[in-house]
Assembly symmetry: C2
Homo-oligomer: 197 residues x 2
């Protein structure tokens, strides 16, 4: 049962890229099959339905995101250094890992935010994990730790700057969007670290 698992991953890979570019529902099983080198019916040996494939795509992408951003950031000591690393990796996630099709997580959010159902539920659950992770790390930016409310506000801005970066870069064609995003984030870290330090 080893070969099947490898094929399944190749399918998810192709589906994820297509979903990031066109949207989860706009993924064409025929196109995915062609990229992977399978027939359309061959896909159904790995997934019961398109929705099941969408769920698997979300799980794969979210697992990779956590690994790429937060696991990598844990190489740095907790606090400011780790947050800066996470922020850089977060920007890089959209800039390089998904350079051709854009960050799939953001694409999924935009598509699913008003589409009730199990697919959105799964995504929302993973996003809450991301958020809790980010807020947890944010608290440790200062000694004594930030309050929960402070950390939430700081994470809100962190998340906002990531979104602003993607917006400026992908839609407005501003390839230098990294600079204002990083500057804004660093300045924000300075402020929350300084208050009542």
């Amino acid at each position: 049962m080893r070969k099947g698992e490898a094929t399944r991953l190749r399918i998810l890979e192709a589906a994820a890229r297509q979903a990031a570019a066109r949207g989860l529902t706009a993924v064409s099983l025929a196109d995915v099959a062609e990229v992977v080198g399978l027939s359309k019916s061959g896909l159904f040996k790995h997934f019961d339905s398109k929705e099941a494939m969408q769920l698997a795509v979300i799980e794969l992408v979210c697992a990779r995101f956590i690994d790429f951003v937060w696991t990598a950031a844990r190489e740095e000591p907790a606090g400011r250094a780790r947050l800066l690393r996470a922020f850089d990796r977060w920007l890089e996630w959209g800039e390089h890992e998904w350079a051709d099709c854009g960050c799939p997580v953001n694409a999924f959010i935009a598509e699913l935010d008003d589409q009730p159902g199990p697919v959105r539920d799964l995504l929302r659950e993973r996003l809450q994990v991301f958020r809790a992770t980010g807020i947890g790390e944010m608290r440790r930016v200062r000694q004594p730790p930030l309050t929960e409310a402070e950390a939430q506000a700081a994470y809100f801005q962190m998340r906002s700057f990531v979104l602003g970066h993607a917006d400026a870069r992908r839609m407005m064609g501003d390839q230098d969007a990294r600079d204002p995003a990083r500057a804004a984030f660093e300045a924000m870290l300075d402020r929350v670290s300084a208050v009542a330090a």
Copy 2:
């Protein structure tokens, strides 16, 4: 030719709401026709093709956005008051005007950011108008005016907080996202106003 114009507007209205919810390409002409109370072929008396309708939808939505946010903000004196008003209207645009389906502009951006073609070109052109308007107003937040670079950085943050607000509110279900967004924006205005004031 007066009745036709009214029908055309009703079509665009229905198409815009559907496009905001499902995406521009996912708009079904059959569904739009049913909402408007027309037959599918009747639509083609008002638009040569689906793409032509998409272009008209973008034009309508963008015109309404400029009016709702920036024209309304001009009731306030230039500077901080006007920017605060614009920010509030911007949040309200997503919260109330499009409460059921989400801000169509953001939806279009997410869908079109990697889809070359005349539809994206039109959207990008309008977004640049939005951006230029915002930056122009931002310069006047201080006397002497902000430099272009300062205003760009400030507008980046303004835009980011709007995006962060929509993200928190729509995807994470945080109905109180307005508070951190407004607090972050006001604090940012304070800082850019104070520097070398």
